[in-house]
Symmetry: C2
Subunit: 341 residues, 2 copies
């Protein structure tokens, strides 16, 4: 044991750090995530596109964030404004390459917000609607159909598949609370918990990609329903991003990092609805943001969209000084569905 210490100091304690950025933007009512198209379509088992990322250069990068900005600039040409560190993932065997003796992946995930105006994709890039990867998270047109018809029975099967009774109870309980079944309520922030659960239950493509099992035909169908997969654990990072953002808009004015300098109240509402995945009560929403002093009128109006011209507003920076936790309250509407707006 002690003998090999020297060796393990060399080989065991050193890792490469990968820096990954989830670039988020909003276009109209669509929340977008920037993906790089499959670069090395590669060995079988590799799935989907991935986030911009690259190794941390301990010699030349002064901070982790600096390294990240360097990679993003290089790979996407997009100037980053708001950047926030999210989480550091170090689980073994998330990456199929590692099974074949590749390096142990430790990746630091970042959230970066991109203004609508800076949103322009080059060839190797694509701004993908994030609900393409998380269909069950979009409740704007009512409860997602696949939730009850596909996911519920599939998870039920997973619950029952456990040999131990106590374990079945734990699984059932977990499924109920994260998905809001049987009296529990749907919490739109628990994106990661839901994804992890589906992963463990083998219901998302990545679960098969890591080589634990080979999916049968039925499972393949489910994969088609649980949305587009991404490289390595990037979809997990996106889940973290979604949850974090959904929480954060409520108590920090991050939403304005995604908006153009001036915007109508309806644009603002749509942007928030896009992130939250639920619809808001229009009249009360307007009153709230006005009342809380989050925005101020610019005097200009916008004559675009279908109806009456809307006044343009801008973020009122002073709220940051005035209020401890300035964010957008979410006056949720019960019966979703844009129709009855």
């Amino acid at each position: 044991m002690k003998m090999s210490k020297k060796q393990s100091l060399k080989s065991g304690f050193e890792v490469q750090i990968e820096l990954s950025a989830a670039l988020v933007a909003i276009e109209g009512d669509s929340p977008r995530i920037m993906l790089l198209r499959d670069q090395a379509p590669a060995a079988k088992g590799a799935v989907g596109a991935g986030l911009p990322s690259g190794p941390f250069d301990a010699v030349n990068d002064r901070t982790l964030e600096e390294g990240l900005r360097r990679w993003v600039a290089q790979q996407s040409g997009i100037p980053l404004g708001y950047v926030e560190q999210l989480y550091t993932f170090g689980d073994r065997f998330r990456d199929p390459l590692e099974r074949r003796g590749g390096p142990r992946p430790v990746s630091v995930g970042y959230l970066a917000l991109v203004r609508q105006s800076d949103l322009r994709a080059r060839d190797a890039e694509v701004w993908s609607d994030w609900y393409r990867h998380f269909p069950w998270e979009d409740w704007r047109t009512g409860p997602p159909a696949t939730l009850d018809s596909v996911l519920a029975p599939a998870l039920k099967a997973w619950v029952d598949s456990s040999g131990e009774r106590s374990d079945r109870i734990r699984r059932k309980d977990r499924a109920d609370t994260t998905f809001g079944w049987n009296g529990a309520t749907w919490d739109n922030e628990r994106v990661l918990e839901r994804y992890e659960l589906l992963y463990e239950a083998g219901l998302v493509a990545e679960a098969a990609a890591d080589g634990r099992f080979t999916p049968d035909e039925r499972t393949q169908l489910i994969f088609a329903i649980t949305g587009a997969a991404m490289m390595k654990d990037h979809r997990r990072i996106l889940a973290t991003v979604m949850g974090r953002l959904r929480g954060k808009i409520k108590y920090r004015p991050v939403i304005f990092e995604l908006m153009p300098p001036t915007f109508t109240l309806f644009q603002l509402q749509q942007a928030i609805e896009a992130l939250a995945g639920t619809l808001l009560h229009k009249q009360n929403f307007r009153r709230l943001v006005a009342h809380e002093g989050l925005v101020e009128p610019t005097g200009q109006v916008q004559t675009l969209t279908g109806g009456r011209p809307a006044e343009l507003f801008q973020f009122r920076r002073d709220v940051i000084r005035e209020r401890p936790a300035p964010g957008v309250r979410l006056p949720v509407r019960r019966g979703a569905g844009r129709s009855q707006l």
Copy 2:
């Protein structure tokens, strides 16, 4: 042996990851952080005690968290319950050792909550009241005296010391919003922002320890007032912990990870006050926690403390299922000071 280590680091992309844990517990009205006493009193420049920590073993640890638990168990013998990853720090030159050619530090900071009952210190350990390291964060007996008398003028000097006018304005603004001066409000969650500001202004001991400057006598006095320093960037990790916890108690039932299985409402209130650094309104606090269904009576009573015996309560686990964001609302009291309770 050190040779081979240094050499392999030369490649640039390989780093050692340090895992650090901030173990938090509450004893009565005192929030505690576990420190290991100065182990290598060491080269000058090294300051104070530090958090339990150790390198991540990429070969043997399945996850980062597993590695962390291994180190904590080894160094403190304390069984960890609730563990949460906080932040990954990778700034250069936080560690004076690094200036002398040591390895580039990348440290992943964790928050771990320890129950009062498991709180027992061994020889090398000490449970330190966290306000010893952050005196200005404790508002329970009113606004901290040193805030206006010492920190305000010292920060004013820092603001004025900048050559550029626009920079002075930025600094002034930052000081005002983080410390709640000139019309801004004190936000008890901005612990890290306040610490970082003091660090940049050279008003905490660590700022000198990294070798950027040598403090004069007046500065030494200020250091004595800005609280006990810690190893490396551990005080920064503690600041992150404090801010995170203060935010989190409001929307997640984490406080109960710190309480014994049963407790009186006053104990619960004291615990929350300890973390939040402010006093709460007793009557309304009781109603809130009862009303929100966070606790349930056990039937037993406790006959200790000065007054009438108090009923013992326990955490009601079901809230997690029922409510999306169960936490303790904080009915703050305006004029602080325990006296008028």
